[in-house]
Symmetry: D2
Subunit: 287 residues, 4 copies
């Protein structure tokens, strides 16, 4: 993405003329729309849009464009987000003992597949548990946690989030339930990977639950974290076929592949501003 | 399948020598094993096997083979089933108002894809609701049902099952919950198609539940009917991707495709004696 | 779709202001955009758009809207198509001896899943071969064909296409190669289902080719017919997993399921004006 | 796997009594069959079997069991392989500049998912190209190659294979075509990942070919290397859906995910002796 490329996402109550108004503003500001996707939720009457555009040579400044959008947003009761495509989001990764999602995200980041700045890797276990993953020079923090120290530990993480200007927190198999308060602070910018095809098999040991139930497919779910455990807006899911031959250990192994690709896709969608919140659901504009 | 082809399925506590004993019996009876599949459930210590074999020219009679297997079964605490491959199972189809599964099963039967004898088509609604499906000369029974008449209606169906020597009852979107007693009578020989990826979205209107939850894949589940609603042993499942663009009606439409192929596969597996009960789960030997 | 709903599809060389111009025209004509999807092909510099809109109460007439779009099309070197959503396309089905795709399309049409008017069913074999399919009162034509009579037979089909105002011809496993001239006449409005995952296994007996090669997945491809056999623009593809256990007959059976769902999706996309030609490829706006 | 667990794979012309003979030998030698899978290829009349068994406490020695199998093999024209399950195969990885498959295999090896001993990592490019992958203490060899030095370079690799007792060579996106002679030496023990769904898009730049053709799914293929380029026996394949929105770069990115999971599965199947050669095809007994 060049420095002249910008992404605008917005949502507002649906009414005639929104697309026309948005595209006119951008046209008149000297911008060329590269990609636009929109969605009318007929159930709720809410309208969602994602526009990628280039500022042409004699285009208005970013600030001027922002001002025009802001003015429109006021008129249309619109919430919006406008940013330069090339500015990478700042991301913190939280992990416990299993590190396949962490290793996968780091590899994708190193080869440039995921455009993000990593601010920190935080674990409730010490670094030795991540021995299979090359953390390189990334700042690592060991914040142990117990029932008694949960409040303090979350405060430390929150402090680090603020200090590092972290914009997205990824729970890459973090295995700790965030408190309601912490979930609220991270609303819309904390992605968790749950190792089941939600809403099936909420809670602990989902692969063992799946084994007991005898399902023929297992899955994983990436969702925004909310105070309502395993009920957050779903961003991405996927499944794989299993058979009676698969033991719980086989499910865990097969699940690792599903989890890491589902989480990576969800993070990517988020980094590219493709995910818009729609109540308890998401709108995900395809890449 | 020729008349000389037979299928033996069995299960028993695992111990050394079972495969050896079974294969020796068949070899000594003048049979050639065409296909054999087995499964050791390490969790329960139970052993499962499916053997397809041909009686060669000078082979023992079917009765003699059955006697040998019976004798072995006694020694090994084995439950087994032995039958001629070419004898078609007798199947009754139950349906309510939506007929896509019915139409699909009938087409597959007509072109010879599903090897079965159809004994009857039974609906709680009258025939007009199945106007999109060609029932041909198949016997159709309209057995209406209400809360008050449920017992009598099930007794009529059960009477018909006995009268027609029906071996398998398929609930092809029947939309009625069988009573515990009726479920018990049909244990292991009644297949239902549930229009969700169980255990997610049990109960009524699963596509609407899926829509509300905002899942990214929907599915269907074929399972044996038990008195525990939506908890029967799962035979087959499948899913398809959906997006925020899909309305509940779209989910219903996409679901029809999943339901009919999942149900058809499950019925086929059952007709070919590929499905063995393993407690609340199934062993499905692939075709 | 109400009578006030219209669909506009268009493509033109990309330049700034197209979305703005299109949405302004519709807004000023008193229309509300329900759904808009667009695509910039960066490789070719070509722009594609599909807009669904409602004419509000005091909107301009259809003719006036058409005139405005026409005027814009002239300025932007745009090809476009504008039609009332509720007007069903007129479709002819061609078939040979296997009828699973035909039966499937007819069922979907009967339950209202595929919005089309069927003009005729044409086969090069007589009606008895379609005994498993209920043709109802649909006009059926038996147009036999041989190498010697191919020209005449195609002329008969073409005559029927014209006479019945057929807008789309579907080769539902027709198994005859259309001549170059006939393909040209039907360009962009003739869909074929090929029983392989193209470009693998072109030509005859693709499932047998797949069996010989030992692939682990088989597939089907729906594409527009061009004079270049099996090279037409692809609309939809899908696959299923197979194993070494599957015989060529098993592949044919599994393939039937893939073929019918791939063809049905492609036909549906076409009927809803979701497919735009992009040289030798297609743009398919998701439903 | 305990030290008492062994795996026997075999193939021979089909005839009555093979299963009986094999299972009797193992039973009489004091072994308990844990898992047995077999396949009759009706086309070729060839029989394939994989048996996993435990030597019970008073079982015969491994050597005695091997002798019994050898004796049977002689009588039945059987080729077989017998080994202790816990002995890890010795594997060499060859790679060029892209390292996603390498990184993935190494991670799976480190967490114990792939049971193998790594003998060497060999590249035709120097180590800097693998900067995103942690090679740890693994022996790395830079063997540059040019048209002129191909023979010598292959001789060096071959020397290293022999010296390190390498049993399996994995081309983890090696991007060099092995000579016929070298392919022959590695017959049945060299796995390549091709970045297309073969037989579609053989040769160079398959993702660009796929883009040009406008397919709706892309895939990857793991196969044994033979002198006939891209025609070796296929072990595993998989695909993912793409759309008109995907650029060639997107296909390369999505392809990485498919390639690494297809290759990992194929390597795993091979390491567990699940893959038997059947002419130009494979029998893969599921895990």
């Amino acid at each position: 993405m060049s420095d002249r490329s910008m992404i605008l996402t917005l949502s507002c109550p649906d009414r005639p003329g929104i697309v026309s108004a948005v595209s006119r503003i951008l046209f008149e500001a000297g911008c060329n729309i590269i990609d636009a996707q929109q969605f009318d939720d007929n159930e709720t009457g809410r309208f969602f849009m994602r526009v990628v555009f280039n500022r042409l040579e004699h285009a208005n400044s970013e600030a001027d464009i922002a001002a025009s959008v802001e003015e429109l947003a006021g008129r249309l009761s619109m919430t919006f987000n406008l940013r330069q495509s090339s500015v990478k989001k700042r991301v913190m990764l939280l992990v416990s003992k299993v590190d396949h999602c962490l290793a996968d995200l780091l590899y994708r980041w190193r080869i440039g597949e995921l455009q993000m700045e990593l601010t920190a890797i935080v674990s409730n276990h010490d670094r030795e548990h991540l021995a299979c993953t090359d953390l390189g020079q990334l700042p690592f923090y060991h914040f142990p946690v117990s029932k008694q120290t949960k409040m303090e530990q979350e405060a430390r993480i929150w402090g680090l989030v603020q200090e590092t200007n972290t914009e997205l927190v990824v729970l890459a198999r973090y295995m700790q339930i965030l408190s309601d308060g912490f979930s609220a602070k991270l609303s819309g910018r904390c992605i968790n990977i749950h190792h089941s095809f939600l809403p099936g098999f909420k809670g602990a040991k989902p692969y063992h639950q799946a084994y007991e139930r005898g399902v023929k497919l297992i899955g994983a779910t990436a969702h925004y974290v909310t105070s309502d455990l395993d009920e957050g807006p779903i961003i991405e899911q996927d499944v794989e076929r299993i058979s009676h031959r698969d033991t719980p250990d086989d499910l865990v192994r097969k699940g690792r592949d599903i989890e890491r690709r589902v989480l990576a896709r969800a993070v990517r969608h988020h980094l590219e501003d493709r995910v818009l919140m729609n109540g308890k659901k998401t709108v995900v504009f395809p890449g």
